[in-house]
Symmetry: none
DNA sequence: GATGAATGAGATTTCATTCAT
DNA sequence: AATGAATGAAATCTCATTCAT
């Protein structure tokens, strides 16, 4: 399901090359999640069990590798949207937003990149947004979402979810669910009973205090730490 | 009110040293906002009009400098909370959350750091949270916020706001206001009329597409970009 | 007449192998002229329509490939010398030197290699020099060249021509003709009328200023240039 | 006499910095002569007894370092031209050309760079050419050089000399003198007695055969040699 | 025999931190 | 006390050569 590059049609890779390609992508995904995008290509190559040269044979630059992974994520999001679009009772929207949260949580470390302007599977992202608009319209027709909410507000939902994940991934991996529940409540029309008990459990105070304890979140500043 | 470091009380600095200290902090603040935390210490020192040696005499590491600024921001937040605590009609909470948004927007680039675990003015942060809990209780007593919302949910509000700012700072600097309005609507009890027209304007589609176009937001990955 | 390598006589190649060999040499010749000796073997293989493995089956190292081409050029020079040797009126020398200039201009990029010590068709080079000495002697006997000029001076003519070509190949491809005309005038005996108008046109000032502007000539240093 | 950069006026360097700067330039000059411009910056730094960081503090890129050295050479050439311009009997031209040969021989390894288009002390080069034109005119007025020789032909003299040096620097360091003597003979008017014995000794056959034996000339291909 | 994927040393450049002046 | 020159590890990327398919 993963396309080789965003653009080129190109001939199929040899089997061993294809294997390595997947291993590199897998390793990169893990390393980026663990150490942020600043992680060195050496580490990725080592984890993938290949030389750096191999990595660079497959991906022209580190950025290209990142873009490829971003593209994969965008395709994953598009698949979710298409699945959600099969519902015609207006519930597809919430389902999709929850799915997007799950995907973002699984690929933390790319949180910014997914939404930032880049050519990586841009078409998929565009189509995703089109479907999202359509799902919003349906939800509004079913009076599940207040009418003055716009499609751009859906982006706010996803971006704010990303922010929660970025902050809490280590201390409270499910925090985004609680947040999304609260935010979605704010989107409902006035008539809706917003008082039904919240399904997601709130974070504990201890979790809040533990935020940012893990090394991961410090990746951006790693270079600032003494080396000997 | 600003302590020299989060930990040491220490003896007072000579007048010129104190001046240098302030100039470094001011310069660092500007440079970090402009180029992200990856900005080099040389640039900060140059902007402050001092040598890097002087910078390192005042701050043990770059991280310590960052922590100091984070401490300043936390003190700023505490001041906001104390101001909000003077209201006793339950409206202090929303006022504070909006204030926190403004502060976060002003200090984008430190977004993660503010909430992440660090010793920088940790006491201020703790006190801030205490006041926030108190304000939430008041708001709930006035039935402005639904009762099953917890203090930890307030952290979610602030973190998600941070996420919006991080994503949109260049393309739509006020996007966080719209987001907060929607999220706060979700916190209100069922009886509240959530249908009053939303005051904040939604983003345009163009703004959404422009997200991440500016160089600033890319700073974290700058080193990873190919040079052709 | 082309031997497989400068050293080994070896068994004949299979037909297809021989074909590949020629295609590689042809491709290498073109690529080296276009991008200098720093051009990568991948590019040569691609242009030849073979894999790098095939290239390395035919030529032990990149250096061996270069030597082979150098050998070809030396054979070409020998052929020129044999042709010139058919003249017995003393004019063969100038004719040969002009021919050598043409060959060098056609194979710029190998300029140093042709004359530098290497085993590539060393016999051809030796024979070439023998013929050159003979042609010089004839020219001197006909009083076309002053008697105190030696055979080693002929090398100076060819090397200096190479220098002109290296410097001017992009800005003034025929500059070497003017240079050679001047130099040959210096070889003539005092009685000769050196005042006859020079046949070759001098370079324009603009051409002189344009020297080294083109990318080609910079190839040797390409890696040393900043990328900003 | 060496200017710090081709452009900047800038404040003077600290003494230790200035010392290191000179040591780097000196080391670079030696290393480039010994191994060509492809020599690594590590080697230069090691030879200079400084870290690579120091080298890069002084010179933004390797190219900038090269340009600086080229600039120095061009200034050296300009000084020669000014000295030669003090003669008003027409002999300044030959004197200058010989001087240029000496300078080129001393800085082999930069042979191409000196004349190639680059901003390094471009003004000096321009002024040098102006003086050269003037000297040529004087020589022609004194009937020391034939009238149909142009200023651009002087460039041919210098470039061809560079070619001789490049080829013969190891095997016959003075070969360029013999070459220049022959070439200058070609520039004299017909009436001149060109039969006076040539002052410079010709190369021996052995020297010609030894050309290119030393490692230096092979620098461009060093990377092509096996590493283990 | 042919292919091209894989290798990994090495090149240039950056930057947090130390230390001589 | 202040300065900024020096350090050197680490990052990205290239390419001649080897070897599994």
């Amino acid at each position: 399901m993963t396309s080789r590059t965003a653009t080129a049609p190109a001939k199929p890779l040899r089997r061993d090359a294809a294997t390595n390609r997947e291993r590199i992508l897998e390793a990169a995904s893990q390393v980026f999640v663990a150490h942020g995008l600043d992680a060195g290509v050496d580490e990725i190559a080592r984890k993938a069990g290949v030389g750096v040269g191999t990595l660079y044979r497959r991906f022209a630059t580190k950025q290209a590798l990142i873009d490829e992974l971003v593209g994969t994520i965008r395709l994953e999001l598009l698949a979710l949207a298409r699945e959600a679009a099969t519902h015609d009772d207006g519930t597809g929207l919430e389902q999709l937003l929850r799915g997007v949260g799950t995907v973002q949580a699984r690929h933390s470390g790319f949180l910014g990149r997914i939404w930032h302007h880049s050519d990586a599977e841009l078409g998929a992202l565009t189509e995703f947004r089109r479907l999202l608009r359509s799902l919003l319209r349906q939800a509004q027709e079913q009076h599940l979402v207040r009418p003055d909410v716009t499609a751009t507000d859906m982006s706010l939902v996803m971006w704010s979810t990303a922010g929660i994940i970025e902050t809490t991934q280590d201390a409270a991996p499910d925090a985004w669910r609680r947040h999304q529940e609260l935010l979605l409540a704010g989107l409902r029309p006035s008539g809706t009973d917003t008082a039904h008990r919240l399904a997601e459990r709130p974070l504990t105070e201890a979790q809040v205090r533990r935020v940012g304890t893990a090394a991961t979140a410090q990746s951006a500043i790693r270079k600032a730490t003494p080396q000997t």
